[in-house]
């Protein structure tokens, strides 16, 4: 923390342990040797097909116990889309970041992790709505923010023109 301590008591500083990418990769590779494709300092990139298995393993393994899905979102990097999973272990007070990449801009699909964490339900629906990434295995994959039939996916980088007329027409058609 910046500055000098002004005589205030500092209690035992507990902090969430950020699991390093290499440690995470090591833990995953024990059970899923081909799952990890890239390792960063605080994150690992996984193969899309392995995500459900890895997530289930990370949740259930007693020495990992990532029982909480803090966040699930996506980033559009033009060449590929990246789905980012932020995991927390409340018991161990540790965090981890997983990533999955989908190449291209069409027919994007990442298996759904709703079976592992209930929280993924809404989060995946949001990503599906705003990025157009499909989550096979999701029990109820519908748009959540926008109405069915909305043209395009707004958080994609190629969604530039906000055309009122197209959207109004789509809304009218829906009615």
């Amino acid at each position: 923390m910046a500055g000098t301590n002004t005589g205030s008591p500092v209690f035992d500083r507990i902090m969430t342990t950020v699991t390093s990418g290499s440690a995470l990769a090591q833990a995953i590779q024990g059970s899923f040797p081909t799952a990890v494709t890239e390792v960063y300092s605080t994150a690992v990139v996984l193969d899309a097909s392995a995500i459900v298995g890895v997530c289930g393993y990370l949740k259930d393994a007693p020495d990992l116990a990532f029982d909480y899905l803090a966040d699930l979102t996506a980033v559009d990097y033009i060449d590929y889309f990246e789905v980012v999973y932020q995991l927390l272990s409340m018991g161990r007070n540790a965090s981890a970041t997983l990533k999955v990449r989908c190449q291209g801009r069409k027919a994007l699909a990442v298996p759904s992790v709703t079976g592992v964490w209930h929280a993924a339900n809404f989060l995946e629906r949001e990503v599906y709505d705003l990025f157009g990434i499909d989550f096979p295995g999701h029990p109820d994959l519908r748009r959540i923010m926008l109405f069915e039939g909305f043209p395009g996916h707004p958080l994609r980088k190629d969604f530039l023109e906000f055309d009122h007329r197209t959207i109004a027409a789509a809304a009218q058609e829906r009615e």
């Binding site: 500055g3 209690f11 979102t73 932020q86 809404f122 923010m145 926008l146 958080l155 969604f159």
Partner: protein, 366 residues
């Protein structure tokens, strides 16, 4: 057992107790809820996309509009995330001011949550306005500090926008002197009220497992007995310098959540006392360029907002505007398990349970 044909009722988006524009499609059998489906998006304004068009400093006021009942916490979250991304350190006085503002905001937000929850239960007369009166005092203090009562834009990357005026400390001390007595009074009026207990005890029970799996946070999580408060578990700012307790619920029903909020107000007051005592002199802001250009990379910052874990996930490409600006909205996730909570209860319970979640639709829909 008499059964009727199930019928569908749209509760909201125009309804007195859906906290804005939440719409619930309820399938009812008489009074009993058979199925519920939340329909979101009525307040969706694509704020995440908007942020990609703004410089980092300009993103702060937009976060005000998300959780408009806890704008200070939103400011704090995004400021910390940008600092993490750009490697900025805020001076110590700013850290203390941030804690003070965030805790005052928690008091205000919880007061409002209690007020609205009571209104949902039908106690729209006295208790509602008493809590709003206390919240008003906090808003007056905020107005004194930054000139705004709801959307502050006060906590910014690098510190806070301006130092507090000289009359700020007496005002907060005055608030801290009077508020606990009133809080005792309200607690006496409410928590032992038989009707309130009848309406909340055992209603909307969330098990520990469901709370974890569904990504609940804040009083929703702690009401179910999970000891997880980021101010303790991952102290940001200077939260590690204060002594406070984390109130935990027992069963996970509406009453637990209601009481957890009550006790959190008290704990916030404890933190405020200590923070005011320790508040150091000095700079309140490190010089930060108007256009921050953080190095390419990403940052995920979680803070404990009144409604739960508020997260900001920023991705920078080295440019002036964030490449991706994602908000992990606690209200959004807290709404995620409505089916598990509501099915089997009655229409009156729906209102009580949704009220106990304490949602802000500006944050849910973003």
């Amino acid at each position: 057992m008499v059964t009727a044909n199930p019928f569908l009722v749209n509760m909201g988006p125009q309804h007195p107790s859906t906290h804005g524009v939440l719409r619930l499609r309820l399938v009812l059998d008489g009074e009993k809820v058979l199925n519920v489906e939340p329909v979101l998006g009525y307040l969706h304004s694509s704020k995440e996309k908007l942020q990609e068009e703004h410089t980092y400093l300009q993103t702060v006021p937009i976060t005000d509009r998300m959780d408009y009942l806890a704008a200070m916490s939103n400011n704090l979250g995004v400021a910390l995330a940008i600092e993490k991304l750009a490697g900025i350190e805020a001076p110590e006085r700013a850290q203390y001011l941030r804690v003070i503002m965030a805790e005052l905001q928690r008091v205000a937000s919880h007061c409002f949550a209690q007020a609205v929850f009571l209104q949902d239960l039908g106690a729209w007369g006295g208790p509602l306005m008493y809590f709003l009166r206390e919240r008003e005092q906090v808003l007056d203090i905020f107005e004194m500090v930054c000139g705004a009562r709801l959307t502050y834009n006060y906590i910014r990357p690098g510190g806070v926008s301006q130092d507090v005026p000289p009359e700020f400390l007496p005002a907060v001390h005055g608030f801290l002197a009077t508020f606990p007595k009133k809080l005792d009074e309200y607690e006496g009026l409410l928590t032992k009220n038989e009707i309130l207990r009848a309406r909340t005890v055992g209603v909307g029970v969330i098990s520990r497992e469901l709370a974890l799996s569904a990504g609940f946070s804040g009083p929703m999580l702690r009401g179910s007995g999970v000891d997880w408060d980021l101010r303790k578990q991952d102290p940001y700012c200077v939260y590690d310098r204060f002594a406070f307790d984390v109130p935990l619920g027992h069963v996970g029903d509406c009453y637990d959540r209601f009481m957890v909020r009550f006790y959190e107000i008290r704990e916030s007051l404890r933190i405020l006392h200590q923070a005011l005592e320790q508040l150091p002199p000095g700079e309140w802001k490190t010089p930060v360029p108007i256009v921050i250009r953080p190095p390419a990379g990403e940052a995920f910052q979680l803070i404990e907002s009144p409604r739960g874990m508020l997260g900001y996930y920023l991705v920078s490409d080295g440019g002036a505007a964030p490449w991706r600006f994602h908000v992990r909205a606690p209200s959004f996730l807290n709404l995620g398990a409505l089916n598990e909570m509501l099915v089997g209860s009655t229409v009156a319970d729906v209102v009580a349970i949704v009220g106990s979640i304490d949602i802000v639709m500006g944050e849910v829909d973003r």
